[in-house]
Each structure stands twice: as structure tokens, then as C-alpha cells.
Symmetry: C2
Subunit: 207 residues, 2 copies
């Protein structure tokens, strides 16, 4: 299998961190330079008509796209350690936590960065800086929710590490790099403690 | 079980259509008036701290939120007819199609409506009309992708009706109501034919 990724982009990082947590080896990483527009090349669009990374090319030539769908596939192929739930009930509750991290934290961070950061002007045309700036408050709203949740349990979805931790961690790493957002500096101390705990995992790799 | 919904909102509709396709009976619907702000009431926030519908209250008192997570749970409880895939490989490919419908069509429609429609000013504070207007082209981009995909197979995820059809249909219904968006009028004839075919399903109920 080949995994199409991009340096510094948060969604490919979710998949590579998921792979590292599973200890999966043998998937070849192919880097697409999205700031240079390589995702719009004829050869890549033939793999993903929506011109986005990550994308997983299977050995039979089919291409599976969308971050969480790729993780679902890999979870099926490599069930251990379980990161997405055992049985449908736990799977549903972990999916809830993962979607909350994605829709109420990751999306706002991405909107904020894409509409305000000069380095992302090539990806978001046109940028709407006022809209982007307004997302800063929404990032804090999402962080406030997660900070409160982490007062009750040590991981995003509950008592153990799951895909929801990967989603929230990669979102915060993106916010740290582009928005200079640090949970502790905003008073979100549970979130900062959790972030530092996740950052120490071997799957995180180099910063 | 109790399902918290809201009239006219597209996400609760995804769940009620999913339930209708399954033929599940016995779930009590409780309407939350989101334009009047009922989702921010103390009693509802105790159920969902993120103050959003849909939310599914289980008989043991736990509350499962997030549209697709609720569907995953119901798919596990009521496996037939299968709407989310048999086995991990089909599940992953249907999840890909569902996420594409959500992230590349539904989200743009929601952004466009929330930032431009006077009726939604209570939900989106502040609105950014220029940003909202720019999402119109992104809606067309998503529609163009789906129109092309439907040239190759009769349903969003492939050869059979799945949750991805529900997501895309509820997105287009929202766009029809608030943005007056009609695929056929934009030249997306495959999408219009598919939309009309889905609209004839009994699960759609009254318009």
C-alpha cells in the first residue's frame, strides 16, 4: 500500500500517527507538495478527484480517501491495539468523541489558520481574514468543552487512548504551529496536561 | 430511547431518515426549538454540553451525540437493512463516500446558508455574508464532484443505497430550501436525477 501525505498538514498526520500507534510497517509514504499545488496534477487527481491528502492506494489499485475512512480500513486490517472501539456500542461512543474533536475543535482551527495565515493563501482562495479571526473564539469554545471533558476522564473518549486523542492532538499541534495557540496560556490546564502527555508518546515522532 | 431533533435542521433529518430506512419504531422524538435557543437550556446542556441536535438518549440515561455516531449505534442495534457496510472494507469505502458528502457538499451548504440567510442569524453570530457568498462556488465544486461520481454508479457510495445517500440528500434538501439550489438548473443532471430518485423513497416523508 502507498499513503499519499503532505508535510506539516494535519490530516495526513492523523493517519501516520494512527499507523505508528498500531505499529504497522510496510506502507510506503509518498509526499505531495500541496503548497506547490501537486495535488492538482493529472496523476494525483486520477487517484483522488477531490485533490486532497491523505489518500491510501491499495495493492489492487483502488484508492481510499478521507482520513477517518482510511483509519477504519487500517483498524480492520490491523485490529490491535484497538483504537476505534470493540463492538458497536463502544465504536459509536468513540466516534462521537472523534467527531466532536473534529467538528468542534479541528475544523475551527483549520478555518482560522486557512483564512488568516499568509502561508496558506495558496490553499484558501480567497481568504476571509475577518471570518478567520472570528474562528479564534470558536477554537476557544471547542477547547473549553474538551478541557471540561478531560476533567472527568484522562483521554478524549474516556479511560483509554483512542483515535479521538489523535484527532484532537493533531488539531492542537496545527494550532500551536500556525496560530500560536497554547491551551495552558488560555487557562485550559486539563487540556494542556493531556496535550503534554500525548506529546510524549513515541507515535508523535519529531515535532 | 429518546431522539432530540429540530424542525427543518438537516442533521436531525439525517438520523430520522436513517431510522425510517431501517424501519425502527419506538424511538420517541423530542423537538428542541433551536431558533428560539432551547438547545442552550440548562436541561439540554446537561445532555449535550455542545448544545446541538440530534442527540440520542439511551434507556440507561447516557446520551449519544453527533449524527454519524448515532447512526453507527443504530446500525449495530438494528443491522438490517445494512446502510453502513458489511465488513471493514465496505464500511471504510462507504465511510469515505459519506465523509465526502459531508465535508465537500454538506459543510459548504451549511456555511453558505448560516452566513447568508436572515433566518439563521440567531444561530451564526456574527454572520460573514462575503464568506457565505464565497461558499456558493464551493457548493458547486462539491456538486460537480458528486455529479461526476453519479455518472459511474447509481448511488453515492456505489451500487446500493447507503448512509452516504442520506447525507447528500439532506444536504441538497437544505440547499433547496434556503439557497434555492437546484442541481439540474446548474447543469448537474446526474445529481438531479439521483436526487429525484431518492426523494421518492418513503423514508423522505413530507417535504
Amino acid at each position: 500500500m502507498k499513503l499519499y501525505v503532505s508535510s506539516h498538514a494535519p490530516n495526513p498526520r492523523r493517519v501516520t500517527m494512527f499507523i505508528a500507534e498500531k505499529g504497522i510497517t510496510g506502507i510506503e509514504n509518498v509526499t505531495i507538495d500541496i503548497l506547490a499545488g501537486e495535488q492538482h496534477s493529472e496523476s494525483f487527481v486520477a487517484k483522488n478527484p477531490l485533490a486532497r491528502v491523505p489518500a491510501l492506494e491499495l495493492d489492487d489499485g483502488r484508492v481510499l480517501c478521507e482520513t477517518r475512512a482510511i483509519c477504519s480500513y487500517l483498524e480492520g486490517l490491523y485490529p490491535e491495539p484497538n483504537l476505534m472501539g470493540e463492538g458497536f456500542e463502544e465504536r459509536a461512543f468513540i466516534e462521537m468523541a472523534d467527531r466532536r474533536a473534529e467538528l468542534h475543535l479541528f475544523a475551527q482551527i483549520a478555518n482560522s489558520a486557512r483564512h488568516t495565515h499568509p502561508a496558506l493563501a495558496a490553499l484558501e482562495k480567497p481568504q476571509f481574514p475577518d471570518f478567520g479571526a472570528s474562528q479564534g473564539e470558536k477554537v476557544r469554545e471547542g477547547a473549553r468543552w474538551l478541557d471540561g471533558a478531560l476533567a472527568n476522564h484522562p483521554y478524549v473518549a474516556g479511560h483509554r487512548f483512542t483515535i479521538a486523542d489523535i484527532t484532537a492532538f493533531c488539531a492542537l499541534e496545527f494550532a500551536r504551529g500556525l496560530l500560536k495557540f497554547k491551551p495552558g496560556a488560555e487557562g485550559f490546564n486539563n487540556l494542556q496536561e493531556w496535550r503534554d502527555r500525548i506529546a510524549a508518546r513515541p507515535s508523535v515522532g519529531r515535532p
